[in-house]
């Protein structure tokens, strides 16, 4: 069952006197109980995509088109009060830096209580016992005592657990996790990823996981969408995308991981850098760095090439080789 359906999402920011779409015609489906990973490097638009779904795009950014359906609700058409009821209750979000997303002068437990009481008529006492219970569920030791702790008294891993407790307090249908473990050490990251997986299996919450780390994708995701310069360039199941990467960008990303390389041999490089959004090409935006670039790549939007069941890449070079073979 498709829980979250995103079609042709377009979010723009003013740059150099005109509005540039930093999220451009992005479409994907998130199924109930699944984890969809949105992968890409910095500046590719994955965080803006997440904020668009939450209707939290900071000004002067603007959602200019597309459709986001959460069940039967059309998220982009809701009024502000109605959106406030959906946000947190049906779709909630955790951020990269738990240090900056918790209020430093409010006790952790009170922040969770606040979230609960915003959505439900609950007494402080009832909400408190719910919060303590949630703290226990997300593996915070001594939840009763930690309820009264200030954020600075907790480690980064514990703060992220508080964020998860807050995000899950309303049992949302969809959890958007924007780089939830990037700021954490690897042993702590392993604990948080395991926790997210366990909670997801218990609650059947669908997760949109935003990350730059293909290792994290491999650990967590059922399906993967690879983003480059505001567009999705390839999507498919985790196994299919990681074992048969098809778009030259996906291939380049995987080949650049040092763990896959042989010591003493040079690493695969993707030449150059992501161009600034004002210079994005009309066609395939990877054309400036692509080792397989063709003459028309920069001018025409890349066609979809089907690689397998539910695995699609958007690439001119692949399209040519496919039609070439079939002739």
């Amino acid at each position: 069952m498709t829980l979250l359906r995103v079609r042709d999402l377009r979010t723009t920011f003013p740059l150099e006197g005109r509005r540039v779409a930093v999220v451009d015609e992005v479409s994907f489906d998130l199924e109930a109980g699944q984890v969809l990973a949105l992968v890409g490097e910095s500046g590719c638009g994955k965080s803006v995509t997440a904020l668009s779904l939450m209707r939290l795009v900071p000004k002067p950014g603007r959602i200019e088109g597309g459709k986001v359906s959460l069940g039967k609700t059309s998220v982009l058409e809701l009024g502000v009060p109605a959106m406030r009821r959906v946000r947190g209750r049906r779709i909630s979000m955790i951020f990269q830096e738990p240090m900056t997303s918790l209020n430093p002068v409010v006790r952790c437990g009170h922040q969770v209580v606040e979230a609960i009481r915003l959505h439900e008529k609950a007494t402080f006492r009832a909400a408190r016992s719910r919060a303590v219970e949630l703290f226990g569920q997300v593996g915070i030791p001594d939840p009763e005592q930690r309820f009264d702790a200030f954020p600075h008294e907790l480690s980064g891993g514990l703060k992220q657990r508080v964020m998860i407790a807050m995000a899950l307090s309303m049992r949302p249908e969809v959890l958007v996790a924007d780089e939830p473990t990037t700021a954490l050490d690897v042993t702590i990251q392993a604990q948080i990823l395991r926790l997210m997986r366990e909670l997801q299996q218990q609650t059947r919450t669908a997760i949109l996981l935003i990350t730059h780390d293909l290792g994290v994708v491999n650990e967590m995701a059922d399906r993967v969408a690879v983003m480059y310069a505001g567009r999705i360039v390839e999507f498919g199941s985790r196994r299919s995308v990681l074992s048969e990467p098809t778009h030259p960008y996906t291939r380049g990303l995987l080949a650049a991981i040092p763990a896959r390389a042989v010591r003493g041999e040079p690493l695969h490089e993707i030449e150059g850098v992501v161009p600034p959004p004002s210079q994005w090409a009309a066609g395939c935006r990877f054309c400036t760095r692509c080792p397989e670039v063709l003459d028309h790549c920069g001018d025409q939007v890349a066609p979809a090439v089907t690689i397998g069941a539910d695995h699609v890449a958007f690439c001119h070079a692949r399209a040519e080789s496919v039609t070439g073979e079939s002739r």
Binding site: T187, I188, A190, G215, S243, P258, A259, R263
Partner: protein, 346 residues
């Protein structure tokens, strides 16, 4: 065998905790507590650990950017900890550092030309402005930047380009050792690959030695010949890279390797073996510092500080690898009941 280029032994850097009106010292943060390291000419040694383990303090204590409290640092036969400030300046020419965040380690008000020429001027390399400018152009070419861009300011470059400037600055004074403190950690993977390739090329061309300080095991595996794993101010395991990854011996090393996600679709395999958080270095646990998080800890671990055990070319700081293990009859007093479960786990 020739003496190593850099030998660190018993390095200890503690920071005082001061309280009250008179700033009385009430305790010590034991950031680095007895670290031994060796780096040979032309080789790459990695120092790995999580945040707060003291790895950055080791790097800075070697160059005396932070004064160590005890221990010795010998570089090319010279004892650095005993040098006068003037002597130290001369010696530092041969040890350079590259920092994690190129945005904050380059002066935003200086042009790239001046950033790169500063070291040349300080050490009197090149005579006159025009010769130094030529050298700067040469340096920029070596790190694959356009010499025409030397009059730009750091903010006009991307993150990867700024890190190239940081590397060029380190190279400018022709060092023999570069301490790279999380030099690629802030970069995207495609840019990280470019910088790692640049570093290996420079190493081949100049015979540079690198001390590579990082938390990222995949980079270590690709780059380093030897690895030291650090936990709460101490090195818990040191080994050749291949051996360390194939057969980690210390429970912390095993935990780190098990927790590192891999992008191999056949092996999504992380395990959270090491639980909880790192204790405070101001009050490290008694006995083995890792025992509070160790999945293989037994009763002696919380009492006895583990010895450093030499296993071939590898060193491990763990009671599980005590030599007495091979001869169970000898250590009868220590109580065999506590040792037994540990042995099974190895």
């Amino acid at each position: 065998m020739t003496a190593p280029l850099l030998r660190v032994s018993g390095l200890r850097t503690w920071f005082p905790i001061r309280r009250g009106v008179w700033q009385k010292t009430v305790g010590w943060v034991r950031a680095v507590d007895g670290v031994d390291l060796e780096v040979n000419e032309g080789e790459t040694v990695a120092l790995v650990g999580e945040s707060g383990c003291g790895k950055t303090t080791v790097g800075r204590s070697i160059t005396r950017l932070i004064e160590p409290c005890a221990g010795s640092v010998t570089f090319a036969g010279q004892e650095l900890t005993k040098l006068t400030p003037r002597q130290l300046r001369t010696a530092r020419r041969h040890i350079q550092m590259v920092f994690q965040d190129p945005a904050t380690s380059l002066n935003p008000r200086m042009r790239v030309r001046d950033i790169l020429a500063e070291g040349l001027e300080a050490f009197g390399i090149g005579s006159g402005v025009s010769e130094r400018t030529d050298r700067v152009a040469e340096l920029l070419k070596r790190v694959r930047l356009e010499p025409e861009h030397m009059m730009r300011f750091p903010h006009e470059f991307s993150g990867g380009q700024r890190q190239r400037i940081g590397i060029a600055r380190a190279l400018s004074v022709e060092p023999r050792l570069i301490v790279l403190d999380e030099a690629v950690s802030a970069l995207d993977v495609s840019i990280q690959a470019q910088i790692l390739n640049l570093l290996s090329r420079l190493q081949q061309e100049d015979g540079l030695a690198y001390l590579f300080i990082t938390h990222d095991l995949s980079v270590v595996r690709y780059l380093a010949r030897r690895v030291s794993v650090m936990y709460l101010g101490q090195i818990v395991e040191e080994a050749e890279t291949e051996a360390l990854f194939a057969q980690p011996q210390h429970p912390y090393t095993r935990g780190l390797l098990a927790a590192a996600p891999s992008a191999d679709p056949e092996h999504p395999n992380i395990e959270a073996r090491v639980l909880g958080d790192v204790p405070s270095p101001a009050d490290p646990p008694k006995g083995c510092r890792f025992h509070t998080r160790c999945p293989e800890a037994f009763d002696r671990c919380s009492v006895e500080p583990p010895p450093v055990v030499q296993l071939g070319s590898r060193k491990v700081r763990c009671l599980l690898h005590e030599p007495a293990e091979r001869d169970p009859g000898v250590s009868s007093e220590s109580g065999s009941s506590g040792v037994a479960p540990g042995r099974e786990a190895t």
